[in-house]
Every structure is written in structure tokens, then in C-alpha cells.
């Protein structure tokens, strides 16, 4: 009996050892993958080395080291889903019962098949798309929500018909003030549906799209296949995925994701303080922001030339300046801006630094065409939106 008991005990120890083996071996082999070598991996087709904030529903973050190309490949592009992805969508959408309906405060409501949508004149916009909650994990005190690091942002060329053309075809009544988007995402429990609206002026802007393509390829399911709104320069939540209904309203849509969701305090708030809903406004354009893509936090480098580099964006404004400090903010040096630029797209930037041995705090700070610049400390708010403090990495030079 005693032997049997011992055997069972040994077996459970063996099981524990088996469980620990992958991480031990990964440490020993120092695998050539981005991220820590003992970071567990999850297989998700089409999503390459992204940080898994949530698997169900899908929330994936781009590691900052991927911010070294002007256009972010779709496989590296962050994914933010509020709900479960549509399960009933046919990949053969042109021959399916999928429709995009246009109604509300319009003269001639209508519905488009995917083939009809595809025949409309196409326009392309290179846009930096950022989740309003990007950087939330850096807020103190911490606030609830997906704990994004710095990578819920990416830049892609989005293509599709202009929303303006679709709305003008329906004929907007004088009462039409806002445009609501509804997607096909599936709502769990009694969660309010992810429905939001944008003001008619932004909806009629010639750069606001019903996008069907991303970087020249049809949208993937994670990015809103077969069609999504693309509201350039605005928080990602404005760009509704799996779009199926466009409705012109006589006022802002009333729903959880317009209020209390996605609102910002009208006045600065002491960290940790509550804010009344009437003292807030809906989020629209993105803040001015820069992120250091290299060197990475905690790295050890050899003395000599070091390229400090990253990306900077400013929503509807243009980035006019990025500065880098290698002495914790005591002095600032101008970074060179990359050649690739577009109205709503980020600029890549580089600063060539002659590094001598020591420990450093490297900072980056962007300024935009409206004179906005990144604050030294985060602007705290109860939902952790629009984090845009000066970026910082700590490194060692040997």
C-alpha cells in the first residue's frame, strides 16, 4: 500500500516536472523569437508574435519592436474586439445574404450587396489606428479594462468606397446630425451591443471610408471582414468592424459605448478621483504621441553608435517634431523624421546617438502642428484613455 501511495506521489511530481519542462528548456536554448524566450505561445493563424491580452474575445497587441515599418503588416497589426466575432459570415460574401443597409434620416434608404459595394469608386487612406485604451496599463492608479501596453496601434492603407458617396446616394435629410454604425459582432449575455455614432461632418469627410481592404488585401476576419468603417485620425472604436448597418440619426447615438464608454473628463482630474458623466465629452481624435521601438527596455548595448528609433502620430494633426533625450529629460535632441508621410499616418523617426558606457533613461517626445506636445506625466482619467506621456526606456551601455 505504502509503495502504491508513493508511486502516486512520484507520478504527480513527474507530472509537475513535465509541466515545467517547456519553460526550462526554452530558457536553456534562448530561442530566437521576439519576446522573452520562456513566454508561452498560442497558435493563432495569421497573427504573428503578438501579445495575447485576451483569446476569447480576441485582443492582441503589437510588440513595440515591430514598429519599424511605415505600414504595419496585417499579421503584426493589433486586434481589438469588444465582443465575439460573427460566426455566421460566409467567406464567399459576394454570394451570401450579407447586406449593408443605409437608413434613418435619409430620403431613400437602400441596401447594398457586397458586389454592389465593391463596384463603388474606391479611395485609399493610410491611417494610424490606435485603440483609445492604448497604454492603459501604465496609468496609476490602475484602471479596469484591457491592460494594453504601448502597442494597441498600427498603420495600414485602408481602401474602399467613401462613406460620403454612400450617404449622398441616400440623401441626408436636414434633420441628420450623426451617423451610427452597427456591426455583426455577437453580444454575450446582456452586454449592450457595440454601437456608436460619429458627427455628420466627420462622416461626410472625403477620407472617411467603408473599407473593404487593408494593405491591398481583403480585410481579415479579425479586422472586420467584409467591411468596416474607417474614421481616420480618430480613436479605433469609431471604426466599427463587420459593418452591416449605417443609420443617420438626429442626435448622438445613446448607448453604453457612447456614454459612459469612450468619454474623457472636461477638466483635469486628480488620479483616482471619480468623474460625473455630465463633466465628460465623447472621445474623437487621437492625441500626439511617440513610442520608442528600439532600443528595447532593459537591453544592454555596446558603446558606440546607437539608433534610437520609433514612430510618432497625432490623429488628425501632423507630427512636426520628435525629440530624444538620453539624460532622463535634462536635454533634448531633434530626431530625423522618415520620408513616408500621409495626413493621418505616423512618421517613423530616428536619432543617432553616440553612446558611452553607463545606465540611461532614454525619452522621446513628439509635438504636432497644433502645438500639442506629450506631457511629462500621464493625464489620468477613470478609464485610462489616450495615454500619451513622454515615452521612456531604461537601458545599459557596456
Amino acid at each position: 500500500m505504502r509503495s502504491r501511495r508513493n508511486f502516486l506521489k512520484q507520478m504527480s511530481r513527474a507530472a509537475l516536472a513535465v509541466g515545467a519542462a517547456p519553460s526550462l528548456l526554452a530558457r536553456a536554448l534562448a530561442l530566437p523569437q521576439s519576446g522573452s524566450t520562456d513566454t508561452p505561445r498560442i497558435d493563432m493563424p495569421g497573427e504573428d508574435g503578438l501579445i495575447v491580452r485576451s483569446f476569447r474575445f480576441v485582443d492582441l497587441e503589437t510588440p513595440v519592436e515591430y514598429f519599424n515599418t511605415w505600414l504595419t503588416p496585417v499579421s503584426h497589426f493589433f486586434v481589438r474586439n469588444h465582443m465575439h466575432e460573427p460566426t455566421e459570415l460566409s467567406s464567399d460574401v459576394a454570394n451570401s445574404d450579407w447586406r449593408l443597409t443605409v437608413g434613418g434620416e435619409v430620403d431613400k434608404p437602400f441596401a447594398l450587396t457586397f458586389s454592389e459595394l465593391s463596384k463603388l469608386e474606391t479611395h485609399s487612406v493610410v491611417n494610424t489606428l490606435e485603440c483609445a485604451g492604448n497604454g492603459r496599463s501604465l496609468q496609476r492608479p490602475q484602471v479596469p479594462g484591457v491592460q494594453w501596453g504601448k502597442g494597441a496601434v498600427g498603420t495600414a492603407r485602408f481602401s474602399g468606397p467613401r462613406l460620403r458617396d454612400i450617404l449622398l446616394r441616400a440623401g441626408i435629410k436636414p434633420t441628420g446630425k450623426d451617423v451610427m454604425f452597427r456591426g455583426l459582432d455577437e453580444v454575450p449575455g446582456k452586454v449592450p451591443p457595440f454601437v456608436r455614432s460619429i458627427p455628420i461632418e466627420k462622416a461626410l469627410d472625403s477620407d472617411t471610408l467603408v473599407a473593404t481592404h487593408m494593405n491591398g488585401a481583403p480585410l481579415t476576419k479579425h479586422h472586420g471582414f467584409p467591411a468596416r468603417a474607417l474614421v481616420p485620425g480618430w480613436i479605433g472604436a469609431a471604426s466599427c468592424k463587420w459593418l452591416t448597418e449605417i443609420k443617420v440619426l438626429d442626435s448622438e447615438f445613446v448607448g453604453n459605448f457612447m456614454s459612459p464608454g469612450y468619454r474623457f473628463p472636461n477638466q483635469p482630474v486628480k488620479p483616482g478621483d471619480a468623474v460625473k458623466p455630465e463633466d465628460t465629452h465623447p472621445l474623437t481624435g487621437l492625441s500626439v504621441k511617440s513610442v520608442i521601438a528600439g532600443p528595447l527596455e532593459g537591453t544592454s548595448l555596446k558603446a558606440g553608435k546607437v539608433a534610437v528609433h520609433g514612430a510618432a502620430w497625432a490623429g488628425e494633426n501632423n507630427v512636426v517634431k520628435v525629440e530624444v533625450s538620453t539624460d532622463g529629460g535634462a536635454s533634448w535632441n531633434p530626431a530625423g523624421l522618415g520620408h513616408d508621410e500621409a495626413r493621418y499616418a505616423w512618421r517613423l523617426w530616428t536619432y543617432e546617438w553616440k553612446a558611452k558606457s553607463g545606465d540611461y533613461s532614454i525619452l522621446s517626445r513628439a509635438t504636432d502642428s497644433e502645438g500639442r506636445t506629450q506631457p511629462a506625466t500621464p493625464v489620468w482619467n477613470p478609464s485610462g484613455y489616450l495615454y500619451n506621456a513622454v515615452d521612456q526606456v531604461k537601458i545599459h551601455v557596456a
Binding site: 508513493n6 513535465v18 504573428d48 503578438l50 491580452r53 467567406s91 452586454v191 481579415t220
Partner: protein, 128 residues
């Protein structure tokens, strides 16, 4: 008699060490050694089962594992989720808030998230 059992146990232990080592090597070299199952679990505790059934019906455990919130903030979250359809017995509400506050309080170390596998599908055009 006892002596005999002891040496028998030792033989068991020796053979098990060899088996253990063999299993470790086989598992570690297999392709799934670095993959994590998609679903994560909530930590052990008297409310683990009830938290699993109340919360993970709609979303996975990592949404909870990554939070670092005060008890007041957890209370607001639990009440919001109940409003949104999470089934929590009235008698279990306080214990659930305690479980979440203890395991995912502001004093807990940062959560380390997994990553998607690298390089397998990069560059491929995929519809779904």
C-alpha cells in the same frame, strides 16, 4: 519487512526518475512544448468554481488575470457584469469580490501575457 519495503520504494523511485527524465525530454522536444492552450484558468480558491462559471461564460480568464484593482474597483466591475448578464447568487457577491480583490489586487506582481506563435503565417494573405 519494513527494510524490504524501503528498498522496494527506492527501486520505484529510481525507475520513476528515469521515466520522468524520459518524459521531460520527449515533451520538451515536441512541437507543442512552447504552445499554451488557448484557455487559461482562474487561480485556486474557494470561489474558483463559481468565478469560472459566472465570469468565463462570456470572456476568458486572462481578462481577469491582467487586472490589478482595488476592492472598490472590483466591486464596481462585479456589479456592472451582473447587470450585463453574469449569473452571481446574491449570497456569493461579497465572496466573489473578495476572491478577485485578493488575487488581482493592486499589490500583486504584473501579469505576464502569452504571445501568438511567431513566423508561421507571416506574409500570407488570409481571408478568415
Amino acid at each position: 519487512m519494513w527494510h524490504e519495503r524501503k528498498s522496494e520504494m527506492k527501486r520505484w523511485a529510481d525507475s520513476l526518475s528515469v521515466i520522468t527524465l524520459a518524459v521531460i525530454v520527449v515533451v520538451a522536444l515536441s512541437p507543442w512544448a512552447f504552445s499554451q492552450k488557448p484557455a487559461a484558468d482562474l487561480p485556486a480558491g474557494p470561489m474558483q468554481g463559481k468565478a469560472t462559471s459566472s465570469c468565463l461564460e462570456c470572456h476568458e480568464a486572462r481578462i481577469i488575470l491582467q487586472q490589478r484593482l482595488s476592492k472598490a474597483a472590483w466591486t464596481k466591475e462585479v456589479d456592472k457584469m451582473v447587470k450585463w448578464g453574469a449569473v452571481v447568487e446574491a449570497n456569493d457577491r461579497d465572496a466573489l469580490i473578495d476572491y478577485l480583490s485578493v488575487n488581482f489586487g493592486t499589490d500583486q506582481p504584473a501579469y505576464e501575457p502569452p504571445r501568438t506563435s511567431a513566423g508561421k503565417t507571416s506574409g500570407k494573405k488570409q481571408l478568415q
